[in-house]
Assembly symmetry: C2
Homo-oligomer: 318 residues x 2
């Protein structure tokens, strides 16, 4: 029997663990965007989530799952993005220590945010190898538990709560589109939907410049390394081992969108919905606006607006 | 007896007229901004309103108030901003014609939006005199009814529905802060609050570079002309005749905020709340973050985020 990363109970337990800590963001609609897409769109606003991205859910669940003994030794992760802040805040809320390994290339503002939550930041060279070696060093030294950004069952169960909420907030969906980077959100949402509403199609949105999930599906084998190049900086990671079977079995299609499509979709969300979303979060709308997707004829489509963290200097610094 | 621009019945009637056309935007909160302000803030999200600003309320009410005979001759206004789109859309929804007199200096994107609603655009030179003369010409030619952007009782009653909703959505407020330009929103909200909850203090936020309301209060006489200079491009107009008695009698204080304060408040709303708001909409938060306001000791303060229409090219055009 095939055992996926999370059962329905795992996801429901995660929902219980994060309630009171995580927000339950609303689902927004837009007549203007419905007209452009030719169907009804439902936007799950995870840009309103704590730390400004869905990542808080998985991190909070993983930190909450630590035993008392593990908790005393703290949590550790490596991330230059939203997961870094997510683990830092989750650890703060549980009152335990967290160490975040961040590449020296990470923006100072992100480092400050992590430090602001009381976490320890350990610098490393900006390569995956350096990140993993440095993280292993921290673990050897402190006995901290690794909270991997996506290749972690508790994290996947936590991200699955986005699916639980969506299914509760919107009835009679035909399809759900989430971005795919490492695949934690995609797998979590796909599993929740598989258990509760298997009739709903799950689609993934992936940047053309980071098409490892697309190629994995094409070849039937998980692509393990790639050299991404896209403005969707939340989707640079490679599909995780624990997420791959879920994506392979339960995701209807991975759709590629290029940076121009992503930028145009992002601008539409800012202009028409007045929401600040980061490039990664705009990839599902880019898919929904594509002719390929529209040919599928879905009528009620949910899109996950995954986050709203990006550098606003271009708007504010003359 | 002093007769203000709108009675409670007028505002309640306006609410009945616009229901089903206007949105009822949610009230958002932000723990991060509460900490900065030292009180609980409640943000009324009129950036989510139709056409992206509260202006739709007043325009819709004024257009709905036209008799059948007046309606056949259409509506007319002069505006380079949100009111132009508001009248155009309101007329479209009632199925009548609208003529919008716009200065040649108005951005092409705003003209396109007005044309997109099926209104006629008449160009004029970028002076108040040219706008008024050209509008008078349209009226003489077509018999259209003027829907002034703020010096109009039906418009003021329409903007007052923001107050009705706020008072319904948030209990036990100590204060409400709205921006002041021509004063339609400020007067409408002040009147609704005066009738229903006179114990709540009404405060106005005004740019230092467009301080006519402030100076009117100081001198006890309405300032009729000024030469504004501020990034808050929705607040360039001069306090209206119909709004002045309301502002004089019912507004606790007009607070001045400079462009740096406005820009900083706007950035906080974008970064922490993930909301796209225009500079004018950020003025109430700029007030709430000022030492002068904080000294007043208000605990529960509502701020009206008036709109979210601005040029996003700096973010999207490299």
């Amino acid at each position: 029997m095939n055992t996926y990363a999370a059962s329905l109970s795992d996801i429901r337990d995660a929902a219980q663990r994060i309630v009171g800590h995580a927000h339950r963001p609303p689902v927004f609609t837009s007549t203007a965007l419905d007209e452009l897409a030719g169907c009804q769109l439902f936007f799950k606003c995870e840009n309103f989530q704590k730390i400004g991205a869905f990542k808080f859910r998985g991190a909070m669940n993983a930190i909450a799952c630590l035993s008392e003994e593990e908790a005393q030794r703290g949590g550790v992760t490596h991330s230059s993005g939203n997961h870094a802040q997510a683990v830092a805040l989750a650890a703060k809320l549980r009152g335990i220590s967290a160490t975040i390994v961040m590449p020296t290339s990470a923006p100072a503002v992100k480092k400050r945010a992590v430090l602001g939550y009381g976490a320890t930041v350990v610098d490393c060279a900006p390569t995956l190898e350096a990140r993993e070696t440095t993280t292993a060093d921290v673990i050897a030294r402190t006995g901290a538990t690794l909270v991997h950004a996506y290749d972690n069952d508790n994290v996947i169960a936590g991200q699955g709560t986005v699916g639980l909420e969506l299914l509760d907030q919107v009835a009679n969906l035909d399809a759900i589109v989430t971005p795919v980077g490492g695949g934690g959100l995609l797998a979590g949402v796909a599993l929740a939907t598989h258990y509760l509403h298997p009739e709903i199609d799950i689609h993934a949105a992936e940047p053309t410049g980071a098409d490892d999930a697309y190629r994995s599906i094409q070849s039937g084998e998980r692509v393990r390394t790639h050299s991404p190049n896209t403005i969707a900086d939340g989707l640079l990671t490679t599909l995780g081992e624990r997420n791959w079977p879920v994506v392979r079995d339960l995701v209807k299609q991975v759709h590629l969108v290029d940076d121009d499509q992503i930028r145009a979709a992002m601008r539409l969300i800012w202009e028409r919905m007045k929401l600040v979303v980061e490039p990664s979060a705009a990839t599902p709308l880019a898919v929904a606006l594509s002719a390929d997707f529209q040919r599928l004829g879905h009528q009620r489509v949910a899109l996950v607006l995954t986050g709203g963290n990006l550098d606003l200097d271009p708007m504010f610094v003359a």
